[in-house]
């Protein structure tokens, strides 16, 4: 009996100590899976750009007349790697020349100035896994000897694998 | 029907207004550049004689003892002046006492007041043609020499100077 007492007392004391310490009443777990889809976004700050070459854009004695427009931006959000943005126009036979350059790009590498055609050309490179924007720097060129006219372009920016 | 006519009228009016605006735009298109040109005409007076050298020579010079015209010669005086109230004066720089040089005007061409004849006996300047005003003209000038002293110097030069000055 004395021996039993000697065994039980420490156990009860241990139990009491446990009761005095921070008691854990219950622990439960569950699983939450976070999935991030492949997101590829590109958009322009405005869908319309109007450029009109007039007398103010001409220099007397110079056949080439030039006009620039930097009023719009291209924005993108891409969470996959190694992407680039290409650009092309829908106008198969433009009367005048329209060039485009990515200005002040927050991410990636701007390609050299592109003369727009129906064939997609690199516009912005190395823009994987980033969010950013750049200025769309359009440069219109017309020769006075070409006369007057209007070129309606639909410019398409496409995110592609690099 | 009334509605159709109304719509047609409205559209026609718009078309006409647009056409007028377009035409006006086309007509009004031009570009201009200015240059400033500075013009000036300074006063200029030109006078020349047709013959620079006149020889007045007479064989009677050594024979006659009395005064009288010996020989004469003629030249033509031509001038241009865009000034107002100018005159042509004449003077001989080397007048000789042994003879008297007479100058007389011939065939005056131009509206002037003139002295038709004068004597060059000394180096003084004489008004010859007066009232030149914004014109070009000419006249004949006849020189006559009257010998005063047959024993004087046998030959000498007269340097006759014509000057345009203010009246």
């Amino acid at each position: 009996m004395k021996f039993h007492f000697l065994i039980l007392v420490p156990i009860i004391l241990l139990f009491c100590a446990q009761m005095q310490a921070q008691t854990v009443y219950a622990t439960r777990t569950h699983r939450v899976t976070v999935i991030v889809s492949t997101i590829t976004l590109v958009q322009v700050s405005s869908g319309v750009v109007n450029m009109t070459i007039s007398g103010a854009d001409a220099v007397a004695g110079q056949d080439l007349m030039t006009l620039t427009n930097q009023s719009t931006n291209l924005l993108w959000g891409i969470n996959s790697s190694l992407k680039k943005i290409t650009v092309n126009t829908s106008l198969a036979a433009p009367q005048f020349t329209l060039k485009l350059l990515a200005g002040s790009s927050t991410q990636g590498t701007a390609a050299p100035q592109v003369t727009l055609s129906t064939v997609p050309a690199d516009f912005l490179l190395n823009i994987g896994r980033s969010s950013g924007n750049c200025i769309l720097q359009y440069t219109a060129e017309a020769l006075a000897s070409q006369g007057t006219g209007t070129d309606p372009h639909t410019i398409t920016f496409t995110v592609q694998n690099q | 029907m009334k509605q159709i006519i109304s719509i047609l009228a409205r559209h026609t009016a718009s078309f006409i207004i647009l056409s007028i605006l377009n035409s006006a735009t086309l007509l009004s298109q031009y570009s201009a550049s200015n240059q400033v040109v500075t013009l000036e005409v300074l006063e200029l007076n030109k006078v020349i004689v047709s013959k620079q050298l006149l020889a007045l020579e007479s064989p009677l010079y050594y024979q006659s003892s009395s005064e009288g015209p010996v020989v004469s010669a003629q030249t033509r005086l031509v001038w241009t002046s865009n000034g107002e109230w100018r005159k042509i004066s004449v003077a001989s720089k080397q007048a000789s006492r042994s003879c008297i040089v007479h100058i007389s005007l011939q065939e005056m061409n131009g509206d002037t007041n003139t002295r038709h004849q004068l004597e060059l006996t000394d180096a003084s300047t004489h008004d010859f043609i007066q009232g030149l005003s914004k014109s070009a003209g000419s006249c004949g000038v006849r020189f006559s020499v009257i010998m005063r002293d047959p024993d004087g110097e046998p030959a000498h030069f007269h340097s006759v100077v014509y000057t345009v000055t203010s009246s």
Binding site: V48, V49, I53, A60, S80, A144 | S31, V37, V41, K134
Partner: protein
């Protein structure tokens, strides 16, 4: 037996349909993936070139001062200046011309002529502009073709008659107009 065969055929049909649905689903997934991976944006850019007329001159000519003449001749010795040029650009057509006029006509007895060289059009030669004012500008170059003509020489010639008298330094504004 016939029923069995029909049942088998039905099962086959169901199988085919299922396969088709599955295939469509897989393809749709691929298209969605492609759509996600390749985004596009479009922008309409309209480039219009309006009618352009542009003329410029290189500066002002030097003073045209008559200082001499010939005795007996009313017409004084004229002076000229060919130190300035004009340049034009136009995209209108081949009927464009340059006209010239003064801000005020010259007094009788003084004559200001000008001559504009041209490679794109037809120079009218040496033209008297002494009496050309804004209402009576004179053509100095005609039939200018579309395009640009740069650095063409302007020659001014100033003449006067002695009978007109002297002329104190006077400025005249010559306006060259490129128009159709």
């Amino acid at each position: 037996m016939k029923q069995n065969k029909q049942t088998s055929s039905n099962q086959e049909s169901v199988m085919k349909k299922s396969f088709a649905v599955l295939a469509t689903a897989v393809l749709s997934t691929m298209i969605v993936e492609t759509t996600f991976a390749q985004a596009t944006a479009t922008q309409n850019v309209t480039l219009a070139v309006n009618t352009v007329y542009k003329i410029a001159t290189s500066g002002n000519p030097g003073p045209l001062t008559i200082t001499t003449g010939t005795a007996g001749v009313d017409a004084l010795t004229s002076v000229n200046d060919a130190s300035t040029t004009y340049s034009i650009t136009q995209n209108f057509g081949n009927t464009v011309k340059v006209t010239a006029h003064l801000d005020a006509a010259l007094v009788s007895g003084y004559i200001l002529d000008m001559n504009l060289a041209s490679t794109k059009g037809t120079s009218a030669g040496t033209i008297d502009i002494s009496n050309a004012t804004s209402g009576s500008a004179v053509d100095v170059v005609t039939n200018i073709a579309r395009g640009a003509d740069a650095g063409q020489i302007i020659t001014y010639t100033f003449s006067a008659n002695a009978s007109a008298g002297t002329l104190a330094s006077t400025t005249k504004v010559v306006t060259l107009t490129l128009t159709n």
